[in-house]
C-alpha cells in the first residue's frame, strides 16, 4: 500500500493553554525512519500525540497525504488513523486479554475476516516479533521488553502504512534494545512502512534513524533538522551538540561550559 507523505506545517501545541512547542514544521519521507529527538520533557511524546490524533494542535496543520488531518471530520480522522500503528511507551496492552487477543482485536473490529484468518494473522504478527509462543500469555505475565514487542505486533495487526513508536527502547537492556532496533529496521524494510519514533536513546537514534527533528525545551521549538548522524557530526548548536555527544567523556568539559 502506498505510504502517504506526512507533512507537519507550523503547528504549536500544549496542554490547557500552555505551549509545549511552537512553529514545528517538518516532512517525513516515505519509508524513512524519522526520529523525534530531544531531552526529557521537551514535548516529544506530545508532538506524537498530536500526530496520532490524541491532542489537537493550537495552530498549524498536519497533512497525511494531501489531507489536512485535523480539519477532517472525526470519522474521517479515525479512518486515516487506522492506517497508523501506534506503540505506546509501556506497550499499553489491554490487560484483560491474552497477547494474541490483543493483536487480533483490531482485526476483529475493522475487517470482515473469519476467525481462522484472524488467528493466522495474529500469530504471524507475533512470530514476526519473535513471540509466537507467548500468544496465550496475559500481559501481566510478560516482561517489559516482551510487552513492547506485543505492542509492536498489535500496531502491525492491520498492516499499517505508518508506525509510531514512543520511546521503544526505554528501560531495555542494550542487547534487547539493539534487537528491537533491528526489528524496527527489518519491519520497515519488509513492510515498507514509514516509521516515526520518539526517542532519546543515542544508540537507537544513530543506529537506525535516517531523518529527524530536534526539539528543545528551552526555546520551545525545533532547533535542528536532519538525520541523527548528521546532527552529531555537523551541528554546532550547543544544545544539539551536548545531546548528541553526551557519551563522550573527553568532550564533557566543553559541553558543560556550553550548556545553557
Amino acid at each position: 500500500m502506498a505510504t502517504p507523505k506526512i507533512r507537519v506545517d507550523g503547528i504549536s501545541f500544549g496542554y490547557d493553554g500552555g505551549v509545549v512547542q511552537h512553529d514545528i514544521s517538518f516532512e517525513v519521507g516515505e519509508k524513512s525512519i524519522f526520529a523525534i529527538m530531544g531531552g526529557s520533557g521537551c514535548g516529544k511524546s506530545t508532538l506524537m500525540r498530536t500526530m496520532i490524533g490524541l491532542l489537537p494542535p493550537y495552530t498549524g496543520s498536519i497533512y497525511i497525504g494531501d489531507e489536512d488531518y485535523w480539519a477532517a471530520t472525526e470519522s474521517r480522522r479515525a479512518e486515516i488513523g487506522r492506517r497508523f500503528g501506534v506503540v505506546f511507551q509501556s506497550g499499553a496492552l489491554w490487560s484483560s486479554m491474552t497477547a494474541e487477543e490483543n493483536v487480533a482485536l483490531p482485526l476483529r473490529m475493522f475487517t470482515h475476516l473469519d476467525n481462522n484468518s484472524i488467528e493466522q494473522l495474529a500469530r504471524l504478527k507475533l512470530s514476526l516479533v519473535g513471540l509466537d509462543k507467548a500468544g496465550s500469555t496475559m500481559p501481566g505475565e510478560l516482561s517489559g521488553g516482551m510487552r513492547r514487542r506485543v505492542g509492536i505486533a498489535r500496531a502491525l495487526s492491520l498492516d499499517p502504512d505508518v508506525l509510531f513508536l514512543d520511546e521503544p527502547s526505554a528501560g531495555l537492556d542494550p542487547v534487547a534494545s539493539k534487537r528491537l532496533d533491528d526489528l524496527i529496521l527489518e519491519l520497515r524494510n519488509g513492510f515498507g512502512v514509514t516509521v516515526i519514533m520518539v526517542s532519546h536513546e543515542l544508540p537507537s537514534l544513530l543506529g537506525i534513524c535516517d531523518d529527524g527533528i530536534f526539539l528543545d525545551a528551552e526555546t520551545k521549538t525545533a532547533l535542528a533538522r536532519g538525520s541523527p548522524k548528521q546532527l552529531r557530526d555537523t551541528s554546532d548548536l550547543p544544545a544539539v551538540h551536548a545531546f548528541m555527544h553526551r557519551e563522550r567523556p573527553d568532550e564533557g568539559r566543553d559541553i558543560d561550559g556550553d550548556h545553557r
Binding site: 494473522l121 509466537d132 509462543k133 496475559m138 524494510n189
Partner: protein, 408 residues
C-alpha cells in the same frame, strides 16, 4: 493464470477465497504440468520441482488464502525436488502473502522438501527470516488441570486466604494496641482523611437510604396495622426495626459498596504502581501505614453513621405515619420513646462496629492481594464488595442467633 486473471479473481471478493477450499482446477490431475492452484497463485510441476507463480494483490484485509489442503497437494507434487517461486506478476502484498509462504515453508520443512525463497520479493524473505517456526497446533488452548485438582487448588486458595485475613485481623488488633501507646507509624493526616471519606462524605447517601428505609418500614406496617386499628404501633415497628436491624444493615451495605470498594481499588492500584513495594523496601510497615488508618476510620465512623442513620430513619417513618395515618408527630415520638430501650441501640451500635471493621478488612485485603493489571483492580473492587455484602448479612445472622440465645 496471468496477472489479469488474478486481478479478476480478486474482484470476486473475499467470500470466494475463504469458502472455496481449493480451486476446481486443483483436482484436474491430467498429467500435464498443471498443478494445484488457488486465488493469486498457481503451482506448475516440472523437472526441477514445483514453481509457484504468484499473481495479483495479496492484501490481508481482503482475505487470507492459505488453505491446508492446497498446501499438502503442493508438497505432494513437489516431492524431493523442491519448491520455488516466481513473483514477477505479483502486485501489492502484505501479511497475506507472508502467511501463505510461511505455512508453505513450514509444511515443506516438515516433509523435508527443499524450499527456495529466492524467487520471492526481497522484503518478503527478510520478513520470513524474522518469523520463527511454530507448529500451529501448539498454539491451541492448553489443557487445564483436572476437575479434582482444580477443586483442590481452589480449596487451598480459600484456606490460605482465610489464614491471611486472620493474620490481618491479628495485626490490626496488635497495632491498634500499639497505636494507643502512640507507637504506630501512621500519619494522623491519613487517618483524618480516611475518617472524612468514611464519615462526613458518606452522609448524603446514608441520609437518603435510611430515610427511605424508615419510610418503607412505616408504610408496610401502616397498611397492615391500620386494619386492626393499631396504627399507633407503626412507631414501635419503625423504632425497633430500624434500631435493631435495618439501619445497621443498610448503612453497612452502602458503605461496603462505597468505601470498601474504594479501599480495594485504591490499594490494588498502589500494588500495580509498585507503591506498596516502595513502602516495603524503605521499611515502612504497609499494615500500619495504609491499612490501619482505614480500618480505624471505618470502625469509628460506622457507629456514628448508625446513630445518624437511625434518627433519619425514624424521621422517614414519622413522615409516612403523619401522612397516612393522620397521627400527630408528638404521639409518634412519644410511642417511639416508650417502645425503644437503650439496649436496642447498643445492639445496633455493636453490629455497626463489627460491620465497619469487617468491610475495611475485606476491602484492604482484596486490594493487597490483587494482581498488577487494570483488570485486577476491577476484580479486587468486585471481590471487596461481594464478600463485604455477603459477610455483612452472614454476620447479621450470627448476631440474630446470639441475641435470640441471650433472649435479648
Amino acid at each position: 493464470m496471468n496477472t489479469t486473471n488474478g486481478r479478476a479473481a480478486m474482484r470476486r471478493g473475499r467470500f470466494a477465497m475463504n469458502d472455496t477450499p481449493a480451486h476446481p482446477a486443483a483436482d484436474r490431475r491430467d498429467g500435464s504440468a498443471q498443478g494445484p492452484r488457488g486465488e493469486g497463485w498457481e503451482a506448475r510441476a516440472d523437472r526441477d520441482g514445483v514453481l509457484i507463480t504468484l499473481t495479483g494483490d495479496w492484501i490481508a484485509v481482503n482475505g487470507i488464502r492459505t488453505d491446508e489442503a492446497a498446501i499438502s497437494r503442493i508438497i505432494e507434487a513437489a516431492g524431493t525436488r523442491g519448491i520455488s517461486f516466481d513473483a514477477s506478476g505479483l502486485g501489492r502484498w502484505d501479511s497475506a502473502l507472508l502467511i501463505f509462504v510461511a505455512s508453505l515453508r513450514r509444511a515443506a520443512r516438515g516433509h523435508h522438501v527443499p524450499f527456495h525463497e529466492d524467487g520471492l520479493p526481497e522484503a518478503a524473505t527478510r520478513l520470513l527470516a524474522l518469523t520463527t517456526e511454530a507448529a500451529p497446533s501448539a498454539a491451541g488452548a492448553p489443557a487445564g488441570p483436572k476437575l479434582v485438582a482444580r477443586i483442590g487448588q481452589v480449596t487451598i486458595g480459600i484456606w490460605n486466604e482465610t489464614l491471611e485475613v486472620f493474620s490481618l485481623i491479628g495485626d490490626t488488633v496488635l497495632s491498634a494496641g500499639a497505636s494507643v501507646r502512640g507507637r504506630v507509624r501512621m500519619r494522623s493526616v491519613d487517618l483524618l482523611t480516611c475518617m472524612r471519606d468514611a464519615g462526613v462524605a458518606a452522609l448524603p447517601i446514608v441520609t437518603v437510604v435510611n430515610a427511605l428505609t424508615g419510610a418503607i418500614v412505616a408504610f408496610v406496617g401502616a397498611v397492615q396495622l391500620k386494619r386492626f386499628g393499631a396504627g399507633i404501633f407503626v412507631a414501635d415497628l419503625v423504632a425497633v426495626a430500624m434500631a435493631r436491624e435495618m439501619t445497621a444493615l443498610m448503612t453497612a451495605i452502602v458503605m461496603s459498596g462505597r468505601t470498601g470498594g474504594a479501599y480495594a481499588a485504591e490499594i490494588a492500584t498502589m500494588v500495580g504502581n509498585e507503591e506498596i513495594d516502595a513502602l516495603r523496601t524503605i521499611g515502612i510497615p504497609v499494615h500500619d501505614y495504609l491499612i490501619l488508618p482505614r480500618i480505624i476510620a471505618l470502625t469509628c465512623m460506622m457507629p456514628l453513621l448508625y446513630i445518624y442513620g437511625f434518627a433519619v430513619g425514624v424521621l422517614g417513618g414519622l413522615a409516612v405515619a403523619v401522612a397516612m395515618l393522620n397521627m400527630s408527630a408528638t404521639s409518634f415520638i412519644d410511642e417511639t420513646q416508650v417502645s425503644l430501650g437503650g439496649g436496642q441501640i447498643v445492639f445496633g451500635l455493636l453490629k455497626s462496629v463489627a460491620f465497619g471493621a469487617m468491610i475495611a478488612i475485606v476491602g484492604c485485603r482484596s486490594g493487597l492481594s490483587a494482581g498488577r493489571t487494570a483488570a485486577d483492580v476491577g476484580k479486587a473492587a468486585t471481590t471487596a464488595v461481594v464478600i463485604g455484602i455477603v459477610g455483612i448479612i452472614a454476620l447479621d445472622a450470627v448476631f440474630a442467633v446470639c441475641a435470640n440465645a441471650l433472649s435479648f
